[in-house]
């Protein structure tokens, strides 16, 4: 059908083009009339100028003579009269067939016949489904949102929607979806428990009052391990540390050793035991040596890998914003928000001039619920520059290192920034760190290996800084 339409269009166009061959009519070949009329205009202008007194009588006469001469010349040279064109159906046919064949041939060669239009409006659903099947949670969520809007009575949709939100870390939306699911499920314990957990996570892992009520109810009526865990956590967060560790211990005792929640529970028991300066084996008879060691360590809240290790690492090398954030998270998990805040504050100090990292820190702060007075990412200002001029050498070095480290961190996450790489290489080179400069240089070249123009730009600006290149 498609081809039929195209062929008809091509043939019609071919006939249109060939149309003059199918008619007979006479044609004025030279347009001598038009040429003469121009001279007539020129004559008029001479008369006008003469009338306005712009030219003298003699000049006007000379101009007239010249125009007459040219007009006569043109009339004699150009006048070849009319020509009659006769019909030439064969030529017409040849032209039409050529046009049709060439058009169809050319299109068949490069076209994508049969490829349908795909306007976006018609593709939304299909595209979302395709992406969702490929594992894209955002698309899945969008689809489920549509489904729940159309049919808000379907428990299954709400349930999967809530879990999907949880999977992408949007616990507030997750909690909301769980609430709908819980309504539909008639307070089924598993649903209620998931709902309360989502509320807790949405609240920065602090058990809110409503969730606590749900958890306590569930813990009373059912053997839901999650409810029991969170009841204990809520106790910890309410300063009832002994109650918390007892709760967790009870949960650990009644659970199979290989239950999926056991690592978490054990970790919390170990942390809490150390915090309370108690013997961990009193709670966990089969505690591993590592756990016992961790529980006996100093410091506030050792993680599985040891917050202490993080702290030591950061003391030696404070330019590692990821470690600072990890530390803050670990401290936050244990409920010591002041210490977490302190970690982030220190990170901020080290990265004062690196907006990208400041943004990351702010994100971490929000995730921990510390952002009541969140500092927005901040650009430098004239004061910074003035301050830089007055700093001691050490202070200045520290500031620069902070900025360079921030730049490096940003490029690690957003490497598509040629100017940034150039700046990084130059910064390292200026600071005399040839090794890092070389690494940055190589990374940048590898990053843009596919783009000759960018490569050239980078090389032009950084090659002079690279000895031996």
């Amino acid at each position: 059908m498609f081809w039929l339409v195209l062929a008809a269009a091509a043939l019609l166009s071919g006939l249109w083009i060939a149309w003059p061959f199918l008619r007979s009519r006479s044609v004025d070949l030279t347009g001598a009339d038009g040429a003469i009329s121009i001279y007539r205009d020129q004559l008029d202008e001479v008369d006008r100028d003469r009338a306005a007194g712009l030219i003298s009588a003699a000049e006007a006469e000379a101009a007239r003579a010249e125009i007459e001469r040219r007009a006569l010349h043109a009339a004699r040279r150009l006048d070849r009269g009319m020509a009659i064109s006769t019909r030439a159906p064969v030529t017409a046919g040849a032209v039409a067939v050529f046009a049709t064949a060439a058009t169809l041939g050319g299109y068949a060669w490069l076209g994508s016949p049969g490829a349908p239009d795909q306007p976006l409006a018609a593709r939304q659903q299909e595209a979302l489904t395709r992406m969702a099947e490929a594992g894209d949670l955002t698309s899945k969520i969008q689809l489920l949102n549509q489904a729940t809007q159309e049919n808000p009575e379907n428990f299954e949709d709400w349930w999967i929607l809530a879990r999907s939100y949880a999977a992408i870390g949007d616990h507030a939306s997750s909690a909301d979806a769980y609430r709908h699911a819980a309504d539909l499920a008639g307070d089924r314990p598993a649903v209620l428990s998931a709902y309360a957990e989502a509320m807790t996570l949405a609240n920065g892992n602090k058990v809110p009052g409503a969730a606590r009520l749900i958890f306590e109810g569930l813990a009373r009526d059912t053997a839901d391990p999650r409810a029991r865990y969170y009841v204990a956590l809520a106790k910890a967060q309410a300063q009832d540390f002994q109650g918390a560790i007892d709760g967790w211990t009870a949960l650990a005792r009644s659970s199979a050793p290989d239950a999926p929640w056991m690592p978490l529970v054990r970790r919390d028991i170990v942390n809490m035991a150390r915090f309370l300066k108690q013997d961990v084996t009193g709670y966990l008879p089969y505690a591993s040596p590592a756990e016992i060691a961790a529980a006996g360590g100093t410091g506030l809240t050792p993680d599985i890998n040891g917050v202490a290790a993080l702290e030591a690492q950061l003391a030696a090398e404070p330019k590692d914003y990821k470690a600072w954030i990890a530390l803050a998270r670990a401290r936050g998990r244990a409920g010591d928000m002041d210490a977490a805040k302190d970690a982030l504050a220190q990170a901020r100090q080290h990265y004062a001039a690196a907006p990208f990292v400041l943004q990351k820190i702010a994100e971490a702060e929000r995730a921990l619920g510390l952002d009541l007075v969140a500092a927005a990412p901040r650009g430098p200002d004239a004061e910074d520059i003035a301050a830089a001029a007055e700093m001691t050498q050490d202070e200045r070095d520290a500031m620069i290192e902070g900025m360079v480290a921030g730049l490096a961190a940003r490029l690690e996450e957003q490497p598509d920034d040629p100017d940034g790489w150039v700046m990084l290489v130059r910064s390292y080179a200026t600071l005399g760190d040839q090794e890092k400069a070389r690494v940055a240089y190589d990374t940048a070249l590898a990053q843009f290996s596919g783009d000759a123009a960018v490569l050239q730009m980078i090389r032009a600006q950084t090659d002079p800084l690279m000895p031996g290149r």
Binding site: I36, S37, Y39, R40, L43, A65, E66, I67, E68, R69, A71, L72, A75, A353, P355, G379, P380, A382, D384, I385, A388, A389, R396, M399, I400, M403, V404, L407, D419, M423, R426, S427, T430, L431, M457, A460, Q461
Partner: protein, 148 residues
């Protein structure tokens, strides 16, 4: 000083052609810095002077120019200093040298060629148009008289 340049470089988000932080307080010095800056090309950009460009590299160069001014260099010395380091490419007004003679001579040569061609055209021998015979004139007038 190098370090301060680096700080400036890292601090400034690449957004604005000129920012107040780098400017001289003295308007006369600032005027000089801009006059020089208009002669210098932002290396990454297309025919923009460093004073019109947002690029970081243009800013570096502006800072260098200001440094040289502070150091007491004359305008010529500053341009020579920059040219030394970045080559002819950085000068928006190319230097007059072996490889640019053709460029600088172009306007002169074109004017000369035009003038000579004009003179030749005006002095070429011209045939006086042959006068029309009376009969031809009458025919021509008849031709021209016919009004549509």
């Amino acid at each position: 000083m190098r370090v301060l340049v680096l700080i400036l470089m890292l601090l400034a988000p690449p957004a604005f052609a000129l920012d107040p932080g780098e400017m001289f307080a003295d308007p006369a010095l600032e005027e000089r810095a801009r006059a020089i800056g208009r002669e210098l090309r932002c290396l990454k950009c297309r025919n923009q002077s460093i004073f019109d460009s947002n690029a970081g590299i243009a800013k570096d160069l502006r800072v260098v120019v200001r440094e040289r001014i502070t150091a007491g260099d004359s305008d010529r010395e500053i341009l020579a200093y920059v040219q030394d380091r970045f080559g002819d490419y950085v000068l928006l007004k190319p230097p007059v040298a072996g490889h640019t003679y053709a460029l600088w001579l172009t306007p002169v040569v074109l004017m000369l060629v035009g003038g000579l061609a004009f003179a030749a055209y005006m002095r070429r021998p011209r045939r006086a148009p042959e006068a029309l015979s009376e009969a031809d004139r009458a025919a021509a007038q008849a031709l021209l008289k016919e009004t549509p």
